[in-house]
Subunit: 196 residues, 2 copies
DNA sequence: ATCTATATGTCAGTGACAGACATATAGATG
DNA sequence: CATCTATATGTCTGTCACTGACATATAGAT
């Protein structure tokens, strides 16, 4: 086999992360990333279909893990309950990657074009979750609605966890699902209505 | 005042819609759109920050209409109830634009780059909705969750309405909100659990 | 009739990305 | 050990999205 492909990929991701963090996404050229990684611009675009994509590796891993967990949830689970189990099952993986996703978040937060891509990835993941719910027998459009509500809960929990990592991600997930149930209650108790 | 600006805008949008529909988004160049509209490529990019944006005019109108309706909902409304009122209040506007949004949907459905932009616009709208809910006194992250669930319901209803325009959009909205409530019920009654 | 603000034209340049073709290297094969 | 091969990479060239700088045209105010 030829020159080490995966290593070049890793070098490209690392170089991109560093340059984006230092100079910003728009001010960093694909050629610069390639140069720092010791390859050519053309090689960069052989590894990633476009400049943004270098920041979105590993999304597919999360997707397949989620899919598998959803399928394996007990059949008597409601759609939301199945999603809850799945999210808890990948919490560990997410907590592991925190050191990588932390700087990534800052770069994305500073770049509209990257936010657009992230939102799209989120939507794609949601789509995959919806299709997996269908395999459990959930009707198509109902599955889509459940997936969107569930992924909203996941984002909610992740935001809370990024702000406060001291309590684990699982704890944030529990609270977030309780919030979803409380959403239709009148706004009397102004703060979280459903927990202690 | 100088040459008619708004008219050039409209010609550009029309030309883009026609060319995208005929040849596809990727195969259509910005210069071609400009030529058909009787202006220069440079002028195209003075009216639209990028090539995709020509298909996303009028989103801001919907946003402001939604915001206003949310603020004006009775204070005793739950977040979801406030959103429901707001959606119903813009249903008429949406039904009016159907002839425009119909071909637009097909073009977007055939172009990943446009789907990405649409998802982003959807997210931006959701963000605006969340911030408006906060003005009603809904706590920040709870507002975000409600906005996402609510916008999911809106999409659900719009999809149903596009597939079956015979019953009005308001009817689809009613059904969609009932679906949201039924999401946490066990999957016994396989079809919509909450209505008649 | 002139004057002005604003829309548009013109020109040149940068950078993302793709096709075509050549070259280099790790490992299989003899 | 020499060769051979699949695959990764380099090189070159081209298209197109998008931008800055500067010139020009036009509808309306004076």
């Amino acid at each position: 086999m030829p020159r080490n492909k995966e290593d070049a990929r890793r070098r490209l991701v690392t170089a991109a992360l560093e340059l984006f963090g230092a100079s910003g996404f728009d001010q960093t050229t694909a050629a610069q990333i390639a140069a720092r990684a010791g390859v050519t611009e053309r090689t960069f675009f052989r590894h990633f279909p476009d400049k943004r994509e270098v920041l979105f590796v590993g999304q597919s891993i999360l997707g397949t893990a989620l899919s598998q967990a959803i399928v394996e949830a007990p059949p008597e689970c409601s759609p939301i309950a199945a999603l809850r189990r799945a999210f808890v099952s990948v919490a560990d993986m997410l907590e592991q990657n925190r050191q990588f996703s932390e700087p990534r978040r800052h770069i994305i937060a500073a770049t509209p074009a990257l936010q657009e891509r992230e939102v799209a990835k989120h939507a794609a993941l949601t789509q995959m979750v919806a299709e997996t719910l269908q395999k459990r027998g959930v009707e198509s459009r109902r599955a889509a609605l459940a997936a969107q509500a569930g992924m909203a809960v996941l984002s909610y929990a992740l935001n809370g966890w990024f702000a406060d990592p001291s309590s684990g991600l699982v704890h944030h997930l529990d609270r977030a699902f309780e919030e979803l149930q409380g959403l239709s209650s009148p706004p009397d108790h102004k703060w979280a209505p459903a927990f202690k």
